[in-house]
Amino acid sequence: MRVRVQTADFDISAEIAALRAGKPGIGAVASFIGVCRDINDGDSVAAMTLEHYPGMTERSIEAIIDQAIARWQVTDARVVHRVGDLRPLDQIVFVAVAAEHRGAAFAACEFIMDYLKTQAPFWKREQTPTGARWVDARTTDEAAAARWASDAPTGR
């Protein structure tokens, strides 16, 4: 299964081993882990809750992976995203991309993460000293996703 949304934590080594299993043509695995920080927008964060849209979330991430595979020479990819209650230092999201060569693996991994940030239906609610608040979408995330739409050569 390429995409999982779950409350449970995940093990990075096990996920990458599953992605690579039986594929000796893979030479490169780029991966990313997003982690719950203890601070956001200048306020301390004691905990957060992640909500999602069951069904659409998985579909939208599958579509993002399909786009990455169409665009780069990628063998396979895997995404795990947690929902529910999380605390600082907890792992939130995992993206891994396997490829023959590293350029494609790095590019596709960053692409998937940037698109996931702006397209996959998840919402974060943070607990701060002044109460709970929904996290606002960031214009920097929109900009990060938008740069992949450019026709500029990537050199990869």
């Binding site: 992640l50 909500e51 939208s60 239906p121 929904w134 979408a137």
Partner: protein
């Protein structure tokens, strides 16, 4: 039609899910949104917020996307996962 509301919008409306029957003349996302806003109060404010995103049958939709009683339509704020 099945309607879903998520995150800040769900809290604001005090409702996560409902079933409705579309009245005559409501056949697009824009018309559905206007009809729900006509409930007044929080509904008017929340649904007229330009940042609201709408998905029809789990695909992102635009104002022109057609809707019928067989569809699942979701309203939510910009996403903040990852």
């Amino acid at each position: 039609m099945k309607l879903l509301y998520f995150a800040r919008l769900r809290e604001r409306l005090g409702l996560g899910e409902e079933s409705v029957e579309l009245p005559p003349g409501v056949a697009s996302v824009a018309q559905l949104r206007a009809w729900l806003a006509s409930r007044g109060g929080e509904w008017a404010d929340a649904l007229q917020d330009r940042s609201v995103r709408i998905a029809v049958n789990q695909d992102m939709a635009t104002a022109d996307t057609p809707v019928t009683d067989a569809d699942e339509v979701a309203f939510f704020p910009p996403v903040t996962g990852g």
